[in-house]
Amino acid sequence: MTIPAFDYQLAAGLEEALQALAEGATPIHGGTELLPAMELGLLAPERVVSLRAIPELRRCERDGDLLVLGAGLTHDDVATSPLVADHAPVLAEVANDVGNIRVRCTGTLGGNLAFAEPRSDVATVLLALGAGVRLAGVDGEREVPMREFVLGAYETDLRPGELIVAVLVPRQPGTAVYRKVVFSERPVVGVALAETGQGWRLVIGAVAMTPEILEVRRLDEIDPRAIAESLDVLADLGGSEEYKTHLTAVTIGRCVAAAGRQDP
């Protein structure tokens, strides 16, 4: 497998990167999603701009009630950040179990979300936490809630020339848990369950084209089997529709049990 030839530019700052994107360049940071797609011939950009030298994409700081995570932080950065552990411990926990240590040390938050692989652990948990993304282009910035950002499998609200510059994470208001079934680098099913203040948000990722988001008042309203059977579960190498539906019900049940144990 060989990567098709392309022109490479190392952007010295965000402005230079956004200008390159406006001219049609494809952004790269860790390359954990882009390079395999290029090796497989699924993508063949003529021009690639590297974001790895842009300091503001590596921010990690509080802004009022939000934690602003630069899109260039790696999963390992998120997993080992004391600030993340304090603000949204479930996110640190999930980041520490993405893929494998090499993927965690190279893959970035922004790359993960922009690629919108349906089996993203990070997207599932960010949806449960009610997070958003800050997008930038040459014409300015806008902020979009995660639930509006993810449009489908490998499909997002990113417009041509736009870049995710930060992920905005509200403080985890109480109990939040994530459970998954994983045989390889990506989960067969990943379920997040988080307290919202008014009740609970349940997000079921990986089994369908897009994550399923459900809001309930109380944990005992959650019927794992009925929810699993209501989803448009896709058969793939992770298992048949029947098998994955079963795993989904079991994993929802485990989340509810874990949340019940943590919730006083």
């Binding site: 497998m1 990567i3 390359g31 590297s50």
Partner: protein, 166 residues
């Protein structure tokens, strides 16, 4: 298309190498620089055989651009130990019988170096978690994990033992 002259610090030495943008780090090491200790297998970031360290962090060199190592420290298996004296991790692998065909070993050794640099006294669970992306189809992992914990103990003893003076 674009070609770049880059200067990584390779195994402690400043190195200059010309690479095409599309050249992976594994290709750069093996083909341009003749460092064939780095082994390529799955080419999908799953198996870990091509693991090298960039600024001390483990990466899959099969899925990493060579050009992205410009100005950074790259450590390959050739930078671990010497011809005369194995590194403590390499010796622990030999002592524990953690090597059979050997194809995964360079990647494992580098991953273990990264683990022990971060966590000098890992528990069995922590070692398993850190190494769960390195695949060995010969040993069944028991000997490898034995070697990791033995290397950690040896390093701890080395630093904790007071020097004996006459």
């Amino acid at each position: 298309m674009s070609r770049h002259v880059i200067r990584p610090v390779l195994n402690g030495s400043e190195t200059e190498v010309a690479v095409e943008a599309r050249t992976t780090l594994a290709e750069m090491l093996r083909t341009e620089l003749g460092l064939t200790g780095t082994k390529v297998s799955c080419q999908a970031q799953i198996c870990g055989s091509c693991t090298v360290l960039v600024d001390g962090r483990p990466v899959s060199s099969c899925t990493y651009l060579g050009v992205d190592t410009d100005g950074r420290e790259v450590t390959t298996i050739e930078g671990i130990g010497t011809d005369d004296e194995l590194d403590v991790v390499q010796q622990a692998f030999v002592d524990a019988g953690a090597i059979q065909c050997g194809y995964c070993t360079p990647g494992f050794v580098l991953a273990v170096k990264a683990l022990l640099a971060r966590n000098p006294d890992p528990s069995m669970e922590q070692a398993k978690h850190f190494l769960d992306g390195n695949i060995c189809r010969c040993t069944g992992y028991e000997q490898i994990l034995t070697a990791v914990l033995a290397a950690a103990r040896k390093i701890q003893q080395g630093t904790n033992t007071p020097e004996v003076t006459a």
